[in-house]
């Protein structure tokens, strides 16, 4: 596919900008368009930036006119940004996706869509499979707002894929990310002075290192496959072990008190924890990576443990930034 034309949304996010930098270097890609509501800070040269809010109907004209053959949807928020209401985040996620898909519907040239979705769709359950494979998406009822949003987004894409069988839709399901340049639920949790945990629970957690997160996206752009694909660094880590590696005191709370204590903490200026993350801290979640390695062809370079160890030592300043350890 020489002379590809690619459009990427959410290009001003860290991962969006990194992906754009990588795609700029790809000689196969003739034209790269980035869309976001604020211009990216990364030194992008070839990319054409279009300032637009994906919730607005502007996309309806931008997309068909740009005559792209691939859309990368990287504008699904894991949590509301600073000063953003949960309702606005929901709008960006669900309404934004819907607008984007409507625009894709009108663009005849599109051959593939790659979405950076979330493994939050699986939820976190005590009786959950130890490794969710891609077809286990709706085993349990949605328990949090974000889980419902992700589930809705995926339903839109499934619908679209059914109506347009000629378009390949790849839904990447990301586990929570970890990395020094990132600001995610996990990194903010680890930055808390005291780590609240559920008394008597030691869930298995799984993260994706920023490097694996980026490379998996790039691999999926090169080789889009139909349907959902889990994205994470290999293996899991127990919460207790993570807390000990972080050398932080933990605050085990009985499950009945957890919510109120964490809410009080938020009021005195500590980090707030999303409903999804609270469930993760209690029951954990891990996903199966066979589809990512075998079909997309990307093998994670990190394990969850090595990603965490590297992150922690960088934060402590024991390891120079950008030093990369192989898993």
């Amino acid at each position: 596919m020489a002379g590809r034309r690619v459009l990427i949304t959410g290009v001003s996010t860290h991962l969006g900008a990194q992906a754009a930098l990588r795609l700029e270097q790809d000689p196969e890609i003739e034209h790269l368009i980035g869309v976001d509501s604020a211009p990216p800070t990364a030194p992008l040269q070839r990319m054409e930036f279009i300032e637009a809010d994906i919730r607005e109907p502007e996309m309806l004209s931008i997309l068909p006119e740009s005559r792209v053959d691939m859309v990368i949807h990287n504008n699904i928020l894991r949590r509301p940004r600073q000063g953003m209401s949960p309702q606005a985040a929901h709008d960006i996620n669900v309404i934004g996706t819907l607008q984007l898909l409507t625009a894709c519907e009108r663009a005849e040239t599109i051959k593939a869509i790659v979405v950076r979705g979330s493994a939050g769709i699986y939820g976190a359950e005590p009786s959950a499979p130890q490794f969710f494979t891609e077809e286990m998406a709706r085993l349990y009822a949605s328990r949090t707002r974000f889980q419902r949003d992700v589930s809705e987004i995926e339903a839109y894409f499934e619908n679209y894929a059914r109506r347009r069988p000629d378009v390949i839709c790849t839904m990447l399901r990301y586990q929570p990310a970890i990395g020094t340049v990132l600001n995610t639920q996990v990194t903010r949790y680890l930055a808390m002075p005291v780590l609240p945990t559920f008394l008597g629970f030691d869930p298995r957690l799984q993260f994706v290192h920023q490097h694996d997160g980026l490379e998996a996206l790039v691999a999926a752009v090169k080789n889009p496959v139909r349907g959902a694909v889990n994205v994470a660094s290999a293996g899991t880590i127990g919460l207790t072990r993570m807390v000990r590696l972080a050398r932080k005191p933990s605050l085990p709370l009985p499950s009945g008190l957890f919510g109120s204590v964490v809410d009080v903490g938020r009021r005195v200026g500590l980090e707030s924890l999303s409903d999804d993350f609270r469930r993760l801290l209690r029951y954990g979640r891990a996903v199966d990576l066979r589809r990512l390695t075998e079909e997309v062809g990307y093998r994670p370079r990190y394990t969850t443990t090595s990603a965490l160890v590297e992150y922690l030592s960088m934060v402590r300043g024991e390891l120079a930034p950008m030093h990369e350890t192989a898993a």
């Binding site: 009786s127 499979p129 008597g200 629970f201 030691d202 127990g238 000990r244 590696l245 199966d288």
Partner: protein
Amino acid sequence: MNSPRQTRVQDLPLTAAIAFMRRFRGALESGVELPIALSTAAAGLPRSSRAKVERAVERLGGDYEEDEWGFDEEFTEAAFPFFEFMYDRWWRTRAKGVNNVPGHGRALLVANHAGVVPWDATMIGVALLRNHPLPRYPRFLVLNWAFELPYASVLLRKVGGVPASQHNARHLLEEDQLVAVFPEGVKGAGKDYSQRYRLQRFGRGGYVELAIATGAPLVPVAVVGSEEIYPKLGENRLLARLSGAPYFPLTPLFPWLGPLGAVPLPSKWRIEFCEAIPTAHYGPDRANDQRLVLELSERVQETIQQKLYENLVERGSAFV
């Protein structure tokens, strides 16, 4: 005259403990962190306990391994003397036919089940580790409900428990693990004392489908003794609903004695591993063959039931 007595006193464990506490406090007061203080204090201990304390300190620092299922081999090994005590002294267990369990590759152990606490699974594990020429830790499937409980969920996972589901069992077998299942499930765990050793229906034979699909041999296991440790005389629906448990047992000790009621009675145990039933020659496609599945399930159930009766007769009295 004084000096020989002094050395004798120093050998006492109590003095060692006091010295340990003293050094520990001294170190803490001088302002070092807890793990370092612990290891400083441990320097004064006899060598054998010093190694243990040092290891514990390393674990406190997060330096331990859990596999991706949460199984912690080191923890299990540390708990092993306790399980061995239960096996040898408490239950006076005898195991037969351990060589029927394949030394490597996937296999599915199928056993009878009683009681909510999976003692039977751990004892099957001890029997294998002690008597098998190629010992390995079995993984066992536990009622999902147990994983909602604080502490229980952690402990179960650390010693090899996995929430019971087709997905998990299949994944484990595909990793060539040894997996123990209790197809009686809640029906088995919740049966009355008068019903002991009468196998309940083995579900719909899901475990056989699994064995055929993955080509794992089925090893029927009869456990005698486990069904007397918590003699269930009745149950309480209201308490079950309140605690979210599948049933709430009333035994002579539980819940009257509180947590002490969870101490299992010292019955005599017999564990027999029966001849393995190979399934690889059927091919994975026949996993949907209901007739074959039920036939095999029946065969497994009959084998276990027969061996249960044989071992009950052989064992004689339950407690002495």
